[in-house]
Amino acid sequence: MHLSEGILSGPVLVGGAAFAAVGVAAGLREMRDEDIPRTAVMTSVFFVASLVHVPIGPSSVHLILSGLCGILLGWRAFPALLVALFLQAILFGFGGLTVLGVNTFILAAPAAVFGAIARGWMRSHPDATHRAPLIAGAAAALAIACSGLLAAAALGLSQRSFIGAAGLIFAAHVPLMAVEGAITAGIAGFLLRVKPELLTDGGLSRTGPRE
């Protein structure tokens, strides 16, 4: 899901960076002082997750966990993913600096949107704790699928085959959707038992600007 350098056209790079900048600004505006540790922890989780390989059949996929970031951080997923993707680019060689904006938007936008939907559902159904992990897992799987679609769109807008890229990305990410969904559901279930306010009320659920 990290698009390489030297593939995308100039307008796509600039547009992606602009959209990412808007998201990062929104995330920073909503980040209250007490959100900083959680954002830092999720940045670390996302940064490290890319090195965790899950064997599936003959090949393996590496975790992304963008959906989990979206559920726990909302718009703050943008600054978190920007920092983590920057570090992955310079330290691991994943993606690159010129595609940093596009890659941030591709991963963070679906994460923030599906994260907000999942949080909203969990807030309005505080008693449905047995179904909440399922919702969180589905949001994570959909975030991956949507990120794949955005990646294919970025390639399509750069004079490449959108259908071809979408097919290849989708085929490569179906197993990942299942893995990420299961892991996110598991973590959400655990958090609902030990610290439900992380997912429901308090903390990030009030998404107004910082006082």
Partner: protein
Amino acid sequence: MIARPFAMLLALAVRAQAHGIEAAVVAGGVGVEARYADGSAAAFAEVKLYAPGDERVFQEGLSDREGRFFFKPTTSGIWRVSIDDGMGHALTHDIEVRDPGFVATAPAAPRSRGAELLAGLGFIWGLFGTLAWYRARKRG
């Protein structure tokens, strides 16, 4: 994506013939191995090969299951290989062929990411720590 050239060792000379096309196995060539940054092979990626100083495609095909692609250079110079997996990962790699029999090779070395991992986590800690400190100072 990382690509490293390596020399092909030896091939047995076997001849096969059918319907007027004669095949001979040729020894001595160059292989390129394409791997993703995480070490997994870039299998079945589209590969295009360009001879030195020639814009036309010299060879075109797919990398094998292990992410490798082989060719036999006809002249010395810089041969250019472009590798593209069709889903957003691409790389152009130059291979120096000094004479058709000698290629500067660079075997891929397995990398440990421990130091990079620590550096990244330290960076994140420092960055968000600084942000928290800045916010606290501004308010107090």
